[in-house]
Subunit: 317 residues, 3 copies
């Protein structure tokens, strides 16, 4: 595997999920694989789960880890070709990515959406520039439009937790005080489409995701109706895609509550975290309900470890 930037980079999701579950049983079984190899974790944005789980995954494989908070510990990078760099950017990605590739065997990058310039976000300027100019494999630790490590962890969790072969999975929008990117929702949709699940997305009107991604997926604007008989409620806020990056303030009563969860088939609650309690979801769902959020977070380690393992194995072959 030469890069992991999208959930679509996974050749066979069921096989990968099975392998990840095996890694989880014996996380140190491939401790020699990454010996004397270095992963560089480059953060352009804050991170908790990704920061820690990816380090843990790398160490489980025996890799050395270098963490760099790019904008704070380094300087601003230039991503535009041909620009006259007499302003705020100090180094072009052409040099930056190529240089880092000489010190690291794998480069992992977190670079969120701006939510201001749709075209630029969809072009995945930062991530794709690293892919283009790095000479080593690049891993997406959440980019403008995708969070495939999260989606892979979610696939593992769904496989571990499902009680029927073809569960009903609902992706439900929920309110949030800040405008959030579409990355987690996008990758979740793409991942679910690779599974056998019955899948429904529910959100207020105006919060439609990128139609290219949701093509063929049922959309139900009535949240309660969508919840009926669901086995899994995957909740996430995102800002408007059409009115790009905006909060529409149309629906406040979309918080996932214990009452709504009762409509499901004793369904489980999922969220990628961090989650705003009593805004996105009420306390009772997390504290007393059938919540999988910790299992999801735990599986981040094994999702990352599988991705790194695949890359290291390829490097050896």
């Amino acid at each position: 595997m030469k890069k992991f930037v999208s959930i679509k980079d996974i050749p066979s999701l069921p096989e990968w999920v099975e392998e990840a579950i095996n890694i989880k049983k014996q996380p140190l079984a491939h401790k020699e694989l990454g010996a004397n190899k270095t992963i560089g974790l480059l953060f352009f944005n804050p991170s908790l789960r990704t920061r820690l789980s990816t380090q843990k995954a790398a160490r489980n494989l025996g890799m050395d880890v270098i963490v760099m908070n790019f904008n704070k510990e380094g300087w601003a990078l230039e991503f535009e070709d041909g620009s006259v760099m007499n302003a705020s950017t100090s180094e072009h990605i052409k040099e930056g990515a190529a240089v880092i590739s000489q010190y690291c065997d794998i480069v992992a990058v977190r670079a969120f959406a701006s939510l201001e310039d749709k075209e630029k976000d969809e072009a995945e300027t930062v991530l794709n520039s690293f892919v283009k100019h790095a000479s080593v494999p690049v891993v997406n630790m959440e980019s403008a439009t995708a969070h495939p490590l999260q989606a892979l962890a979610d696939a593992i969790t769904l496989e571990e937790q499902k009680k029927v072969q073809k569960p009903k999975v609902v992706l439900s929008w929920a309110p949030h005080p800040k405008a959030l990117p579409h990355a987690v929702a996008n990758s979740f949709v793409e991942m679910i489409k690779m599974t056998e699940a019955e899948f429904v997305i529910t959100h207020p009107q105006g919060y439609e995701l990128d139609p290219e991604i949701t093509q063929g997926v049922d959309i139900e604007y009535d949240q309660e109706k969508a919840f009926e008989n669901a086995d899994f409620i995957y909740t996430k806020n995102w800002s408007s895609y059409t009115d790009y990056g905006k909060i529409l303030n149309t629906e406040a009563n979309w918080t996932v509550t214990g009452e709504k969860m009762k409509l499901t088939n004793q369904g489980a609650f999922m969220h990628c975290l961090p989650v705003r309690r009593n805004v996105v979801v009420s306390d009772e769902v997390l504290d007393e309900g059938n919540s999988l959020v910790l299992e999801q977070a735990n599986n981040r380690t094994y999702a990352a470890q599988l991705v790194l393992k695949k890359i290291l194995e390829n490097a050896d072959s």
Copy 2:
């Protein structure tokens, strides 16, 4: 040992001090104990000695180390139960601590006093929330009211340096331009009460520490009188406890000087560092006197290493 949040968590201080001194002689003797274990160091406040010595201690035990400057590299945590999280906090400690526990075998936390809300500080909101919601042992790297790793290092230093069985130890307040917490002083008092030392606290009126902590301890408002025949002068500034977090500006001439040290029994000067020269203590005491500040800092490694060793041993049993 399931946690180390207070010096009172030490079952027998003399035995621990003896063991720490043995670790200091052979710091790599237990290099296998922490193999494939990870400690997460979570900083909500700046740190030099604690940051470096705890990393060194963990590596001496073969542990992997993940450092996270929480507020800068992550986001603000919510600590209040039941709050509607529609403001500045992005993740509840319930999720935060539980998630981190899945990536780390031990979690160490530094979270200073606010010095604004006495009740909140005394409740040790941040530290205790980690203890409550983490599923792995928690180590206190200085909390609102306690700094037990420092106190343990001080106990080691006192044991190494004392010339008589029952030395006279004086804890002396000293001036400082900023309002400082009571954590170091509190833990030092609690530690000394576990030893055989003759103990006196001296400070200007109005700087009384928490009476629950100083119960039974002699307080002498005349600094020079307190210094007479002392074997150790442990100096530290703290803000008012009664007039919580305030600098009272009543006494400027409390700087520890060479002249004052002459009143002692050729006593040694101690301070946890960082120390403001010529404010807390004059240059001559540090440069020409009988100063133990570097020995204290050095013992931070072995104090931390002993605590981590106790936790790791317990985890194995």
Copy 3:
């Protein structure tokens, strides 16, 4: 070797370059040398190449690495002797350096020039204070007036790339929107003077470097004339030394272009990076020309590794 603060600390540059080239062939050959040793990387300024390559070098030697962004993760240090520390500095370098020396076997420091106080910059206050007060070897990761790790990497690159025994090397000033230090240029000049190269410095009038450093070196104010028959064009901006730290704005047309490179003897372009494209050098030189910037950056690892190896070997003897 007890310290590496200047390129002049290298006893024999040709021998060191040869050894570095051997290390590059087998970077893991001395993996045991640094076992159970710790290097502390202390950054007072941003860093990318130095940050990553020095970590990589240390790990290649089996060392543990502790990184600290001093001002952000710790507090401000005091460097003046005898000062009354009642203002913004919280810890004196006397304690700071001595304490860090107890946790680390080698201390590496990055502390740029202020470009405001020439005397202070030339005194190398930060670096020299660490050398004076640390009890372990100190490595210069770029100080106010010197960047010897870069110069050593450049010496390696020149040796690898030169086609004649005595190449013509030109150090050319280039424009930059920000006032930059003289450190890289200084160390490059000092390094080249240790080699057999024919050496010319070219810059606009007013940008003369420290005359003590350039003593005996040809200076040519006509950039194009200087480029004639050159084998290597080493480009770097620096602010005025005479009118200390100022940008004189006298010459905008000093950008290194493909056209100018044609004047050389099919010469190679060198720069320490980060480089501002189309200000310092035009795109075509980096993208289509004979550019060595990535080779230079790659050699940073082996320059650092050689320095650390020399220090570790000395520590053992």
